[in-house]
Amino acid sequence: MVEYNDLIFEISRSGRVGYSLPKSDVESIDLQDRVPKHLIRDEAAELPEVAELDLVRHYTALSNKNHGLDNGFYPLGSCTMKYNPKMNEVVARLSGLSRIHPYQPIETVQGALEILYNLQEELAVITGMDAVTLQPSAGAQGEWTGLMMIKAYHEQKGEKRTKVLVPDSAHGTNPASASVAGFNTVTIPSNENGLVNLEELKKHVDGDTAALMLTNPNTLGLFEKEIAEIAEVVHEAGGLLYYDGANANAILGKTTPGSMGFDVVHLNLHKTFTGPHGGGGPGAGPVGVKEILIPYMPVPRVEKDGDQFVLNSNCPLSIGRVKGYHGNFGILVRAYTYIRTMGNVGLREVSEGAVLHANYLRKKLEPYFESPYSQICKHEFVLSGSRQKKLGVRTLDMAKRLLDFGYHPPTIYFPLNVEECLMIEPTETESKETMDAFADVMIQIAKEVEENPGIVLDAPHTTVIGRLDEVEAARNPILRYTKEEAVLEQGKEIVKA
């Protein structure tokens, strides 16, 4: 394949267009007559000028330099890179769903509201909660929404609690969301089994504790067996329990955060419920709550009044709005389509498959890597590259070596409490053969580390580009294209040649 490294601005040629608008059927106004001169643009924005085929070739070439889930196995821990069903894409693009305006009269969007209402109801069942809001755009926004509700709940009781407890294995967004919601974070260390240290927890829980945020199974893929006791400790002190649903793929139809004692839950629909990740988004992060928190839920709420679906914003104790309109509707439609495709039995089988796959792969790899928590895991597991590190090869190097074999590497260096961590989540949608092939490559890399470490240290060898200098990028940030910079770049190319 011919290498293609141009930016869209570099293939731009003055006069080319990639659009067509109808001839104007009304008189054109002269802005000079209307708009004060200083508010009229004096220099056109330098957007590229390309014909449609140039455009198509450009973005096709870019896509060829991108690894998606459809290209190959993507065992990125905590991200639940499961198959993104094509049918969901078809449904979300139906014009009755994609070409409707959020402020249309309520009687013209009954189908859309019915989807939202049904999704709320089904997610409430799946999480064991009493009500669900679909507004938050992503997991982190869901966390913040949940914490704002917790804050409002305590304040309504006349209490100003400032502390949110977070285990050391938590996702980075947990403490960040707590901070943005105005709480102080206290980190709770894990015990030697990788679980919440109940004794440590008890030391920190007091009348100032607003909530404990927990992922269960946690980021090590381990189920917090003492969750009932943990919940009791927090509840007794008047605090609430927040469930980070990033790992919900492990528990569908097996247990619910509600039965574990959680009061608030967010789900990442782009993880567990197949909304595609889109290269970083859009996602959707619905939040479920127990009855005590219903008054504080964001507005508007989708409700059913007789056989009509309505929007209710008349909720005096609500924390208010958290997101524009009705949440990321397109992603919600995809998730609903997925849930309807799997049904009650199917969702249970999803989690069974996810857990079976994670344990199978763990067992296959354990002889070759340190396994700090060698026990039954849920949907994901962690390995440590500490054995390889002693031989001079780091986890990062092994991750880069995986690229040569067409795999997206696992999540690395997270959670923070595992040295040289590799966090692997195969998901239920991958076949046994795919996992076997991946395991073979991992084992081969482990052998290479012992016999021929250079090949791992210098990896990747087959990608379109080698390891990039991240220090250069951060020290001398070039964050946009400029002609001047492009000329400099060309100069470098010529010197090299």
Partner: protein, 450 residues
């Protein structure tokens, strides 16, 4: 026996072999660590699975219960617009190398996405006249709240002034966010259709972190950013402008008019209305705030052989590094929609975007004039882009339902958020033909006279 679910590949034989390696006889053993009292008894109380053909039918039926812009010409705007989206946009974002990828944490196999974001950042910088743009935000509304938080954190001041001519949902979200972060928000009242600058001068003080306005504002009117900048600057407050990127094709860039932060939503450029989401917020700043910008940013770098490439950069700002010290918790963004917008902007190009923006000016002007000729009062005193406010002799709700009967989606009811009875905010994009506009005006005339 064959499998039931098309997304689950395990056959009975597969399961058996995997369990054998685990030395187990059933999958149940893998769930033994969940205490039995927490276990669900029976199946989830939701309906059974639907087959693909059945579900497609059901979803089409639900979709058919909505009235789409394909069926009824729409004159609704108020932050979300029915614009032309070149076919090429959806085709290119449907390449699954893009839409099934995660955040580009492994740059060697993510150059496509990273370069696309770098190009997006460039286009946003160009339109806004700012130095740096990030890779996208949830939407324009949440972007505005993040801008306010940035201003508060940077200036260490505790008050934010926001014009009432800023979208009501932006203000509502700002209000929610401010409660978490502990700053106060004051609204600046209107001088008819624009921000009241005299009021602003009265309200601004040395504890004001930011002055936030919208351009064009919620009523479609074009605020005088130069004047507002002077007022903000005098008190050392950051100047935050929420802007419609399509309008920026013809309006002076907020950057040139002194904005410190420019935010907004890319929806008008390549993103379907989709009942309000997902859209795509953008966030652009002056150079000096580069290291404070929330969300992900892509930068240019080189590999070990000196070849140009792109990486996520300045990550020290981000939630996963800063954890409890973070001032923003944004993680996922709207990358795929940013890509859609980039493709749309590339298709339109330097001239097309101006032509499209001009067409919006023209169509709205034509409609306002037509209504004026019929005796309707247009309330905008300033120049407007593709939206304006018309006064009706009766409630908007009443008129809207009559319009609906006639096959039109009417404008936005300003009695809702502003208490302005009998005032309709009408949007006219390049999508509306002269014929549709004429018919709408006729119906409106008949309705109010009828």
């Amino acid at each position: 026996m064959s499998n039931t679910y098309r997304y689950l590949p395990d056959t009975e034989q597969d399961k058996k072999e995997m369990l054998e390696l685990l030395n187990m006889s059933s999958i149940e053993e893998l769930f033994a660590d969940i205490p039995s009292e927490l276990r669900l008894k029976g199946e989830l109380n939701i309906p059974e699975a639907d087959s693909e053909p059945t579900l497609i039918k059901k979803m089409k039926k639900l979709a058919a219960r909505n009235i789409s812009a394909d069926q009824y010409p729409t004159f609704l705007g108020a932050g979300t617009y029915d614009h032309y989206i070149p076919s090429v946009v959806d085709h290119m974002i449907s390449r699954s190398e893009f839409y099934t990828a995660y955040t580009p944490y492994q740059p060697e196999i993510s150059q496509g996405e990273l370069q696309a974001i770098f190009e997006f950042q460039t286009m946003v910088s160009e339109l806004t006249g700012m130095d740096v743009a990030n890779s996208s935000m949830y939407d324009g509304f949440t972007s505005l709240a993040e801008a306010a938080s940035l201003a508060v954190a940077t200036t260490r001041r505790s008050k934010v002034l926001v014009s009432k001519a800023v979208h009501p949902e932006s203000r509502a979200i700002l209000s929610t966010v401010s409660k978490g972060q502990g700053y106060t928000v004051e609204e600046v009242s209107l001088a008819i259709d624009v921000t009241d600058l005299e009021e602003l001068k009265q309200q601004i003080e040395k504890d004001t972190a930011a002055v936030i306005v919208q351009y064009p504002n919620f009523f479609g009117s074009i605020e005088d950013l130069a004047e507002i900048k002077k007022i903000a600057e005098e008190k050392g407050a950051l100047f935050v402008v929420s802007s419609n990127p399509l309008a920026l094709a013809l309006l002076q860039s907020p950057g040139k008019l002194g904005a410190d932060i420019v935010i907004g939503d890319m929806q008008p450029l390549g993103i379907p209305m989709s009942f309000g989401g997902p859209h795509c917020g953008y966030f652009a700043v002056k150079q000096k705030y580069m290291r404070k910008i929330p969300g992900r940013i892509v930068g240019q770098s080189h590999d070990d052989k000196g070849k140009r490439g792109f990486v996520l950069t300045l990550q020290a700002r981000e939630q996963h590094i800063r954890r409890d010290k973070a001032t923003s918790n944004i993680c996922s963004n709207q990358a795929l929609n940013a890509l859609a917008s980039s493709i749309c902007m590339s298709a339109l190009g330097k001239h097309g975007i101006r032509q499209m923006a001009q067409r919006n000016f023209d169509k709205a002007d034509y409609m306002a004039k037509s209504l004026g000729k019929k005796g309707f009062n247009i309330l905008n005193k300033s120049a407007f882009f593709n939206e304006f406010v018309v006064e009706l002799p009766c409630s908007v709700k009443e008129v809207s339902s009559k319009l609906l009967e006639a096959g039109f989606i009417g404008g936005y009811d300003l009695s809702l958020d502003y208490g302005f009875d009998n005032q309709m905010l009408i949007a006219v994009t390049e999508q509306r033909s002269k014929e549709e506009i004429d018919q709408f005006v006729e119906v409106l005339e008949a309705v109010v006279n009828g």
